[in-house]
C-alpha cells in the first residue's frame, strides 16, 4: 500500500509539470496575446514591440517558461483584466462557491441515486426497474444547460418558488470567514442566511447533479445485481441470516467499492457541468468566471483558472486512487 501511494504521489510531479507546460504553450498560442489585444486602438507595430520587451515577451521561450513557472508556483497567477483584481483572490472567493455547489449536487445525486439503484436491483425486471433504467438514460442524455434553463423557467420565473440567480440574497448581510456560505451561516449562527443560501443552491444542484445521479443509479444497480448473485450472499441467505443483515453487511458494503471510484471520477463531469450550470444561474463560482473570461478575452483569468481546475482535477483523481487502494483489501494489504 505504501509503495502504491508513494508511486502515485511521485507521478503527480511530472503530470503537474506537463500540465504547466501545456497551459503555458497554450497561452502563447492564444490569438492577440497580451500585447496586441490590450494596446487596442493604439496597437502599432512599434508599440507592440515596446510592450513585448517590457513584459519580457521577446526573451527565449524557455526563459519565459521558467519565469512563468516561478511566478505561478509562488501563487501569483496574474491579474484579471475585467475586474482588476488578482486572479488568486478571485479564485479564493469563487472556488468555495463552486465546491459547495458540487458537494450539494453530489449529495443530491447520492441521496437519490443510491436508493433508486438499490431498489431497481432488488426489484429486477419489474416496471420500476425498467422505468428507472429509462430515466437514467434520459438523465445522461439531457444536456445540462437545457435542464438548467427549463428548471429555472418553471420553478423560478413561472412558479416563483425559488430564486433564479446568485448564491445569496443581496439583502442578507453576513460575515464570510470561510467563503463557504453554508458553513459561514452555521458558524455565524444565522439560520435565516443558511436557509437563504440553501434555496439558491437547490435548482443549480439538481441541474448539476442530474448526470451523476443517473450514473450512480446505474452503477449501484449493476453493482448490487452483481454482488447479489455472488456465492457468499447465497450462502449467507441459506444460513438463515435475516434479509436486512444480508443486505447491509454483505451486499451493500461490497457493492460500495465500484461506487466510491465512480464518485471520484465524477469530478470532471462536475467541473465542466459547473461551467454550464453557473452560467445559466449566474452563480458566482469558477465555472461562470471562466466562461465570462473567455468572452472577455481575459487571458490571465483563462490561463490561471484552467490551470487551477486542472490541478484540482489531478489532485482529486489522486485522492480517489489512494482511497480506492485503501478500500480494496487486495491493494491495502500488499506491500
Amino acid at each position: 500500500m505504501l509503495r502504491f501511494v508513494v508511486r502515485r504521489l511521485l507521478l503527480l510531479v511530472p503530470i503537474l509539470l506537463g500540465l504547466s507546460i501545456l497551459v503555458f504553450l497554450w497561452i502563447r498560442a492564444l490569438p492577440g496575446g497580451p500585447a496586441e489585444a490590450l494596446l487596442g486602438e493604439r496597437a502599432t507595430a512599434a508599440r507592440i514591440a515596446e510592450v513585448r520587451h517590457r513584459y519580457g515577451l521577446d526573451r527565449p521561450i524557455v526563459a519565459q517558461y521558467w519565469d512563468y513557472l516561478k511566478t505561478t508556483a509562488s501563487g501569483d497567477l496574474g491579474q484579471s483584466i475585467s475586474s482588476r483584481r488578482s486572479v488568486m483572490s478571485e479564485i479564493k472567493q469563487r472556488f468555495p462557491a463552486t465546491l459547495q455547489l458540487a458537494i450539494v449536487a453530489m449529495i443530491f445525486a447520492l441521496g437519490v441515486g443510491l436508493p433508486l439503484g438499490f431498489l431497481a436491483a432488488k426489484w429486477y425486471g419489474s416496471v420500476f426497474d425498467h422505468l428507472s433504467l429509462v430515466g437514467s438514460l434520459i438523465g445522461i442524455s439531457i444536456p445540462i444547460f437545457f435542464l438548467a434553463v427549463i428548471l429555472k423557467y418553471i420553478f423560478s420565473v413561472r412558479l416563483g418558488w425559488l430564486p433564479s440567480i446568485g448564491q445569496i440574497s443581496v439583502t442578507t448581510e453576513m460575515n464570510h470567514p470561510t467563503n463557504f456560505y453554508l458553513l459561514d451561516a452555521v458558524i455565524e449562527w444565522r439560520w435565516d442566511a443558511f436557509w437563504d443560501v440553501t434555496r439558491h443552491l437547490i435548482l443549480p444542484a439538481i441541474a448539476l447533479g442530474s448526470i451523476p445521479l443517473a450514473i450512480i443509479m446505474r452503477i449501484t444497480r449493476a453493482s448490487v445485481l452483481d454482488v447479489q448473485n455472488e456465492d457468499y450472499v447465497r450462502t449467507a441467505r441459506a444460513k438463515g441470516l435475516s434479509p436486512q443483515i444480508v443486505d447491509s453487511r454483505h451486499v451493500l458494503r461490497n457493492a460500495m467499492l465500484p461506487i466510491s471510484t465512480i464518485i471520484g471520477l465524477q469530478t470532471g463531469l462536475l467541473l465542466s457541468g459547473a461551467v454550464l450550470t453557473e452560467t445559466v444561474f449566474q452563480y458566482p463560482g469558477v465555472g461562470n468566471w471562466i466562461a465570462q473570461a473567455i468572452f472577455n478575452r481575459d487571458y490571465p483569468v483563462i490561463q490561471g483558472g484552467i490551470l487551477f481546475l486542472a490541478v484540482v482535477f489531478v489532485i482529486v483523481n489522486l485522492v480517489v486512487d489512494i482511497s480506492y487502494a485503501f478500500l480494496n483489501p487486495r491493494i491495502r494489504l500488499s506491500r
Binding site: 483584466i81 475586474s83 423560478s156 418558488w161 433564479s164 446568485g166 440574497s169 434479509p243 468572452f295 487571458y299
Partner: protein, 560 residues
C-alpha cells in the same frame, strides 16, 4: 427484504413531498427584507464599476455609481439635457470665449467633512491636466481627452495640444478656467460625471494618482477609487464587494434636498435575461437596459412598470474606407445603404417598440437636425444591384462584416439579430458577406477604432451631453482610423461649428453638415431607440435621462 425496501421507498417519497411542500408553502420567493429595508433600493446593474474615480472611467456602470457620490459644476435638469447650476451657481465667458468664470455654491462640504471651495475645484482640474504616464492612456482618461484633447505634457504623439490652459481661484468661491481656444460645448460638457469634483484631501490621502499599466490595461493602485471615493453628493460610499454588491448610504449632511432613500445597493448581474428574472422574483427592484423581448413580460406584470429614456443614441454601420477598399467608391456605399433592410429590422421584435429608423447621424430632438433636404435610402435590393454593377465592385461584391458578441447595447439590443437581417438583405442586394465577430471589450471596440474590423461593422453611440458636436464632431470632425476617409468639406464645417459660440449659427452649420454627411455616407445610421428600465411599482420618482445621468436622490420606495 421487503420491509427495508419499503422503508427506503417511504423515505424517498417523504423527501420528494417535503421539497414540494417547502416550495409551494413559501409561496412566491421573496428576497428577505425587514422594516429598515423599506428604504433600500436594490438595483441590478450589468457589471461592477471598474473603479469609483470619475476621471478614470468611461463605462456606464462606473458612471452610474459615481454620479450619486460626486457632483460637477454643472448639472442637468433630471430627465433632460438642459443645463442648470450644479456646484456652480452662475457662469460667464470672457476674453473672446476663452475664459469662463464660475461662481461657486457656498456652505458645501465633502463627505469627509472638508470644505468645498475654489481651491478644491482647481485642485481637481489641475490633477486631470497634469496626468502623466499610464494615466494618459485612452483606456484611463477617455473623456478628458475627448473634451480637452491633451495634457500638460503629452507623452504620445497621438495626443493633441491641450484645450485647457489653467484654473485660477478668485478667492474662496469663484474660479476662472482658461482655454486655449473658444469651445462652444464647454458648459454642457462640464455636466459629465467625469468632471465631478472630489475631495482633494481624500484624493491625496488615498493615493488617487497612483496607477500602472498591467497586462496592457490601466489599473489604479491607490485605494481611493476602490474604498474611499469622496464627493459632495447626496449619497456616500459605504462598501463594495466585487461581484456581489456596491453599497451607498444617504448623506445626511447634503447641501440640497436630502435623499429619500436610506441605502442603494447596486447588484451586478451580467446576463440580461437573468436581470429580468431577478426583477420578476423581487430579488432586485429595478434594472437598466431591458431587452425588447422582456418589454411584454414587464408590462403584463401588475407589480412592475417600464420607464423609457428619451431617444438620445444612434446605431450605425461603420463604413471603412482605405487602401484598396471597395468602400472607397461612393456607388458601393450607396449600394450598401439601399441594401440594408433597416425598416424591417426596426419594426421587428429585435427592437423595442418606439425605436425609429435613423435618417441622420444625430437624434431628431437635438438641435442641428436637418428637417429637410436630407437624402434617404429606403430598402431597395434591385437598386443596390444596379449601383454595384455600375461601380468598381461588381456583383457579387465581397465584403467583411463584423458584429460584437456577448453584449447588448441600448441602441443595439441583440447584435446577432441585426447582423442576420443585414446579412440577408445585403446578400439579396448583390453582396457576398463574410461574417466576423469578437467580444465587445477589449477586442471589438478596439478593432473598430483601429479600423481593423472589416469593411462594415455594427456599432453605435449614446450622447454624453446635449450638443451635436458630441455626435458629429466626435466621429467626423477629423480623420480617424475607424472610418478611414478624408473629406475637407465635412472636417471644415464641423470644426467651424465646434468653435462657433453663437447658437443660431451653430444650428445652421450642423444642419448643413448632416446633409453633407448623408450624401457622402461615411457611415449609415439606422436606429434611434428609447432604452428602457424596469422597476417594481413601489419604486417612485425615477426620472430616465437621455444621457443616463439619473439621480437616485429623488427616488423613493413606498408600499410593500
Amino acid at each position: 427484504m421487503r420491509r427495508k425496501s419499503r422503508k427506503l421507498v417511504l423515505l424517498a417519497g417523504a423527501c420528494a413531498v417535503a421539497l414540494v411542500v417547502v416550495g409551494a408553502s413559501s409561496g412566491a420567493y421573496k428576497a428577505p427584507h425587514g422594516k429598515a429595508a423599506l428604504k433600500t433600493l436594490v438595483f441590478g446593474t450589468s457589471a461592477d464599476p471598474i473603479v469609483m474615480d470619475g476621471a478614470l472611467v468611461s463605462d456606464g456602470e462606473s458612471l452610474r455609481a459615481i454620479d450619486q457620490v460626486t457632483e460637477s459644476l454643472i448639472s442637468l435638469k433630471p430627465g433632460t439635457t438642459k443645463v442648470q447650476p450644479g456646484l456652480a451657481l452662475r457662469w460667464k465667458t470672457s476674453k473672446g470665449g476663452k475664459a469662463w468664470t464660475f461662481a461657486l455654491r457656498r456652505g458645501v462640504k465633502f463627505h469627509d467633512g472638508t470644505p468645498f471651495n475654489a481651491a478644491a475645484v482647481c485642485y481637481n482640474f489641475n490633477r486631470w491636466y497634469n496626468f502623466s504616464g499610464p494615466f494618459q492612456s485612452a483606456d484611463a482618461t477617455y473623456y478628458w481627452q475627448a473634451i480637452f484633447l491633451g495634457f500638460k505634457k503629452n507623452e504620445s504623439s497621438d495626443l493633441s495640444p491641450s484645450l485647457y490652459r489653467s484654473c485660477k481661484a478668485n478667492g474662496k468661491y469663484s474660479v476662472t478656467i482658461t482655454l486655449a481656444k473658444p469651445f462652444g460645448p464647454l458648459i454642457p460638457a462640464l455636466s459629465l460625471t467625469n468632471f465631478g469634483i472630489a475631495s482633494p484631501t481624500a484624493l491625496k490621502k488615498y493615493n488617487a494618482n497612483r496607477g500602472e499599466i498591467r497586462n496592457g490595461i490601466f489599473t489604479p493602485t491607490g485605494s481611493y477609487g476602490r474604498d474611499h471615493p469622496t464627493g459632495t453628493g447626496p449619497f456616500k460610499f459605504k462598501s463594495w464587494t466585487v461581484g456581489e454588491k456596491l453599497e451607498l448610504v444617504r448623506n445626511a449632511q447634503y447641501w440640497g434636498k436630502k435623499a429619500k432613500l436610506g441605502r442603494i445597493i447596486f447588484r451586478p448581474i451580467s446576463n440580461n435575461t437573468a436581470r429580468n428574472q431577478a426583477l420578476q422574483t423581487g430579488e432586485i427592484m429595478g434594472y437598466d437596459l431591458v431587452a425588447p423581448a422582456d418589454y411584454a413580460s414587464i408590462r403584463n406584470n401588475s407589480k412592475l412598470k417600464l420607464l423609457t429614456r428619451p431617444a438620445f443614441n444612434v446605431a450605425y454601420v461603420t463604413i471603412h474606407q482605405g487602401q484598396g477598399s471597395p468602400m472607397n467608391d461612393l456607388k458601393v456605399r450607396q449600394a450598401v445603404a439601399y441594401g440594408l433592410n433597416r425598416g424591417g429590422l426596426i419594426r421587428s421584435a429585435a427592437y423595442p417598440p418606439g425605436a425609429v429608423v435613423a435618417k441622420e447621424f444625430q437624434p431628431p430632438q437635438l438641435f442641428g437636425y436637418a428637417k429637410t433636404g436630407v437624402k434617404t435610402y429606403p430598402f431597395n435590393s434591385s437598386r443596390a444591384r444596379q449601383l454595384l454593377n455600375s461601380s468598381s465592385c461588381k456583383v457579387p461584391c465581397k465584403i467583411d462584416f463584423w458584429y460584437p458578441s456577448a453584449i447588448s447595447r441600448p441602441y443595439m439590443p441583440d447584435p446577432k439579430r441585426n447582423f442576420e437581417v443585414f446579412q440577408a438583405s445585403l446578400e439579396a442586394s448583390g453582396f457576398d458577406v463574410t461574417p466576423h465577430t469578437a467580444p465587445w471589450r477589449p477586442d471589438y471596440v478596439g478593432k473598430v477604432s483601429n479600423g481593423t474590423a472589416g469593411d462594415l461593422n455594427l456599432i453605435g453611440w449614446t450622447g454624453d451631453y446635449g450638443d451635436p458636436d458630441n455626435f458629429l464632431g466626435v466621429f467626423f470632425g477629423t480623420y480617424s482610423d475607424q472610418f478611414g476617409f478624408r473629406n475637407s468639406k465635412i472636417f471644415n464645417i464641423l470644426q467651424k461649428a465646434r468653435t462657433e459660440t453663437n447658437q443660431a449659427k451653430r444650428t445652421k452649420l450642423y444642419q448643413q453638415a448632416n446633409r453633407i454627411i448623408m450624401n457622402y455616407l461615411p457611415a449609415i445610421p439606422y436606429a434611434h431607440t428609447s432604452p428602457a428600465l424596469g422597476f417594481r411599482k413601489t419604486v417612485k420618482g425615477y426620472k430616465p435621462s437621455p444621457v443616463s445621468l439619473e439621480p437616485f436622490s429623488i427616488v423613493s420606495v413606498g408600499g410593500v
